[in-house]
Every structure is written in C-alpha cells, then in structure tokens.
C-alpha cells in the first residue's frame, strides 16, 4: 500500500476529528490529514491552492452541520470551483443526520461520492480510503 494520500476533514466535531485522526494514523494509508472547522476555511484553502496537485487532497470527509459555512454551502462553492481546481477530489459526506431529506439532497449533488451516516467504523473508513 502506498502512503501518498492526502485527506481533508471538514468538521467542527472535535471528538469525531480526534477519533478519525487516530484511526487513520493506525492504518498508515494517509500521508497528510488536514482539518477545517467549517466550510469557509476549507474553500479558502482549496481556492488558494488550486492546480497544486501535491497540496490538494484526494479525499474530503465533509460534515453538514457546521458554523459559518455549512456542508451544503461548501458543496455549492466547491461545485463552482471544481472546473478550475485541476485535480479529482472524492467527497464523502459524513454526517450524524439520519434525515431522509439530507440523504436525498446529497444524491442530487454530483460532487458527492457517497453519504456516510456517523458513527463510522474503522473498517468503513479504511474501505473508503483504500478504494481510491
């Protein structure tokens, strides 16, 4: 397994970040984990680094309920930015929301690969990252 992957977590939930970080570190699958507490910080980072393949992540785990800019607003901004970004980024929504509205809405957004309902098991996390 090559440890070249960069993963970004966009989530304001400290416990989730802590556990995901710990779990991923144990797998040795990911080279770099970046954390953003809200969508705005993340979209600013992506905008600044567009075209820089070695800085941009391959995979994003995106929470929905966040302050300042939530997951949906991030996806709007990301969809606009995507053509200029110069790299394929796989986005998983990782949310504790079990609302069918949210799940249906996620299906209509082409940038989203899948909707994962928290809690996320270690096996599921490894599968998501290894699939790339």
């Amino acid at each position: 397994m090559n440890k070249t992957k960069k993963l970004t977590i966009i989530d304001d939930d400290e416990t989730f970040i802590y556990l995901t970080q710990k779990t991923i570190e144990q797998t040795n699958l990911v080279k770099l984990i970046k954390i953003f507490g809200n969508g705005l910080d993340a979209i600013e980072f992506l905008t600044e680094n567009k075209g820089k393949e070695d800085v941009l992540p391959e995979i994003i785990l995106l929470d929905l309920s966040m302050p300042i800019m939530d997951g949906w607003q991030f996806l709007d901004a990301f969809t606009n930015l995507n053509p200029k970004i110069g790299k394929k980024i796989t986005i998983y929504i990782c949310s504790s929301s079990i609302s069918p509205d949210d799940i249906e809405k996620a299906k209509t957004i082409s940038a989203v690969t899948d909707y994962i309902i928290k809690p996320i098991t270690k096996d599921k996390l490894i599968e998501m990252i290894a699939r790339l």
Partner: protein, 487 residues
C-alpha cells in the same frame, strides 16, 4: 258637387272608409279597406261587418259601440280586426251614423286609420314593462338591492337590505352609503370601486359591511352604474348577496391551515433538531466507546475515556435547551402582560453593565411611539437579553458598539427594533439558518446558536413575527412584531 267629389277623393286616398247598412252589412269599401283587410271588393260587399271581428274585444265594448251609434252619436275608438288571411290589424275608427227622415238609421260610415304599428309598439312596451316588473320582483325577492345617487346617497333600499343592515328603511334613505362601511377594506380597494363605477363600468367584488348593531356581514356585490344621455352615471344600482357564512368558513379555514402549516414547520424543525443535534453527541459517545474497546494501548484508552465526559455534558446542554424551548411551545395559554419595554430593558441592562463599560458601548432607546408591548414579561426580558447580548458579542473590532432600541406603533401591532453597528451577518448565505438551533455565523468562542432560536420560539408562541436586516461590517437590525390584543 265638384267639391263633394274632391272631399271623397281626399278621404278615400287618406283613410280606410267602410259603409254599412243599419244591420251591419257592408255596402261600400274603399281601396284602402281592401288593402288592409286583404279581401277584394267583390268578396266583402254584402257581407256582415262582424266577419272582421277579431274576438279581442269583450261584448260590453261592442255593445257600447252599437248603443252609441244607434243613439245617433258618433263613436270613436280603437279596434282590432281580422284580415282574410287570419292576421290581425289595429285601426283607429270613427263611426258616423246617418238617419232617414223618419229617424230610423240609414247607414253607418266608418272612417279608419291603420294603427297596427302603434299598437304593436304599445303591446311590446306593455310586455317589457311587465317583464321589468317581474325582474324587479325576482331581484327584490332574491337579493339585497340598493340604489344610490351619484354622490352615494341611498335612494332605494329593499326589504333584504333593511334586514341584513338592521336599519329601518327611513334610517337608510337619504343617508350616505358610507353608513354601512366597515373600515375593513383598504383605501385603494374603495378607490378602485369608485373609479370603476364613476367611469360607467360595472364593479364586482366581495365586501365587508357593518350593520346598525355594529356586527359585520359579508356581501358579494355587483354595482351597476345607470348612465344618462351623455354617458355619465346618474345613479348606481347595487345588487348584493349575503356570503357571511362562507366568509366565516373561509377565514376559519385560512386560520386553521396557517396554524397547521406552522405546527408542521415546527415539527420538521424539531425532527431536524433531534436528527442533527441530539444524534451527533450520541454518535460521539458510541464511537468513543468502540475506540476504547478496540484500542490495545492503555494510554489511548485513558485519553479517549477523558473525552466522554465533555460529550455527555454537551448532550445534557442540548437536551436542556430543547426541553426549555418545548416548554415555551407547549405554553399555549401564555398570558399577555402589558409591559413597559423601558422597564424591562433597564432591568436587563444591569446584567450587561460591566461589558458595556468595558466596550464603551452606547445604548439608546426610544419607546415614545409605543410605550407598551403586549408580551409575557419574562419573554420580553429574555428577548432583550438575547438581542443585546448578541449586539455586544458580535461587535465590530473597529468601533465602539452602538445599540439603538425603538418601538413603533403599527396600529394593530407594535414593532420593536434593535439596531447595532456590529459585524453584521451575510443574510444571502445565512438567511434560512438565522433562527435555527445550534447555527452560528461568526467565529466566537461563546457562539452557541441558541439565543436567536429561543427568541424566535418565544415570539412565535405569542403569535408574533421576527426577522432581520443586516449588512456585513455595518451592522444588524432585528425586528419583532408584537400583536396587540383585540379590543
């Protein structure tokens, strides 16, 4: 003799002339007679005059004719006769009797003019009048009818109008139509009505009117202007029907459907709160427990265990907030206090004294336009606390906070506004989440996303409205509309 012949010529040319013997047998008929009766001279000479009877006139009429001429007097009158082909014609007739020297009747000369056209018009007119009177009867029986002159003064009111308006007819006639105005309709509505009918067009609409006893009734109304020869309205006929029951049902239906929609929105909000806000910390606990179980390193287990407590506290906090908001929602019989906003604000500001001093904040208030608000006192204090706290919390780093709090009398409601010069909120992005639980819009360590949610919950519990205007980096104004209780 020449003169006599001339007279006969003139008479024959201009009128219908028939001569009968004392028994009524026709002895002479001129061309005009043949033309109107459609008989040839040969066919009619020697025939009884009653051959021409139409059967229209009663015996008394005919008898009166005979008695008149037999008494030697001239008879004048109108008569309907039957032509050869069975059609009828009307004539204006003068019968002059001539007598022998012994006083017995010699002959009767009848001079006639054709008045069929006039009679037809008369009959049509009588028919029309009858129809009109039938229509009026039907209208009066079925509808509320009034006629007003060009200034709106009532000239006619039928029984139904008196009944629904509860005025006696004398009380209505001669009065301005505004007597029954309810004040419900906006000026533009009334103006549109007058503009329409004064322009000579028919106006249709639904109106709420006021009866003598102060009760209201709804009428479906059609106002028809009657135009003079210049096309200018000289009076207005109003035909109305009572739709009060339907309107009441409609109002009830709108009220219930609005209440239902509100309840449904609240239910959806509540589901979202449970799904998003309660589930998140539960998921955290579940993941922490899994991690502790699976981890083989003691240090990791201990570290993860230390993270359980804050999550549980967080869960408790959200849970308590939810319970608090539910209590407001379930408090369906909230008693409205007549509160002086100045008194509530002064009380609340005591708690912010140190912050106000520290930030150099200037708080001004003006409640002169509406010195009272109808709201439970604890709600108003909570509303002030949340809005003032937000205005101070999200102050601009570049200027001292200035907060202006005002009320404005809207007639049936009081509008409270709280304006600040703080960070502002980008409403293009955050509008839909502004009053949602656990939604925050600024990076502030004390931002929890509960204050505005709770404020909205309280405002809606008393049937009020809350909204905001904001420009990022200039400030925000929050508006709350408090209903006044019905008088």
């Amino acid at each position: 003799m020449k003169d006599l012949a001339d007279f006969k010529y003139v008479l024959d040319e201009s009128t219908i002339v028939v001569i009968t013997d004392p028994k009524g047998i026709i002895t002479y008929a001129n061309d005009n007679f043949c033309q109107i009766s459609k008989y040839s001279r040969e066919e009619i000479i020697g025939q009884d005059h009653c051959k021409l009877n139409s059967g229209h006139h009663d015996k008394v009429y005919i008898q009166n004719l005979w008695e008149t001429i037999m008494a030697g007097k001239i008879w004048r009158g109108q008569m309907k006769n039957k032509a050869k082909d069975g059609s009828y014609y009307w004539i204006d007739m003068t019968i002059i009797p001539f007598f022998n020297d012994d006083g017995t009747p010699r002959e009767y000369v009848a001079i006639r003019t054709d008045i069929t056209r006039i009679k037809e018009s008369e009959e049509a007119l009588t028919q029309s009048l009858k129809e009109v009177s039938n229509y009026k009867f039907a209208l009066d029986a079925s509808s509320i009818v009034a006629i007003a002159d060009r200034k709106g003064i009532i000239k006619y009111a039928n029984d139904n109008f008196c009944k629904i308006s509860k005025y006696r007819r004398e009380e209505l006639l001669g009065k301005d139509h505004r007597l029954i105005r309810s004040g419900y309709h906006p000026k533009t509505f009334i103006k549109n009505l007058w503009d329409t009918i004064t322009a000579g067009r028919i106006w249709k609409g639904e109106m709420k009117n006021k009866a003598k006893d102060g009760t209201y009734y709804w009428v479906d109304t059609t106002i028809v202007p009657f135009l003079d020869e210049d096309g200018m309205p000289f009076q207005y006929l109003a035909i109305r029907s009572d739709i009060t029951d339907r309107k009441k049902s409609e109002e009830e239906l709108i009220k219930y459907s609005k209440a239902l929609a509100d309840k449904n929105t609240q239910l959806v909000d509540f589901c979202n709160i449970v799904s998003h806000n309660l589930r998140a910390p539960l998921v955290n606990i579940s993941m922490l427990v899994d991690y502790i179980e699976q981890s083989e390193v003691l240090e990791d287990k201990v570290e993860a265990l230390g993270k359980v407590k804050p999550v549980v506290n967080h869960l408790m906090e959200i849970f308590n907030e939810l319970v608090e908001s539910l209590q407001v929602k379930q408090d369906t019989t909230v008693k409205l206090d007549k509160v002086r906003p100045q008194a509530s604000l002064d009380k609340v500001l005591i708690g912010f004294e140190s912050q106000i001093g520290q930030y150099g904040a200037v708080i001004t208030s003006d409640f002169n336009s509406a010195p009272f608000i109808y709201c439970p006192q604890k709600y108003l204090e909570s509303i002030f606390t949340n809005l003032v706290s937000n205005a101070l919390k999200y102050k601009s780093p570049n200027r001292n906070p200035q907060i202006t709090i005002k009320t404005k009398d809207l007639g049936n409601a009081v509008l409270l506004s709280v304006k600040d010069n703080g960070l502002g909120i980008n409403l293009n992005v955050h509008q839909k989440n502004l009053f949602k639980i656990r939604k925050t819009f600024h990076k502030h360590p004390d931002a929890k996303g509960f204050g505005l949610f709770m404020t909205k919950t309280q405002v809606e519990a008393i049937d009020g409205k809350i909204w905001a205007e904001s420009i990022p980096d200039e400030g925000s104004t929050f508006f709350i509309e408090f209903k006044k209780p019905p008088r």
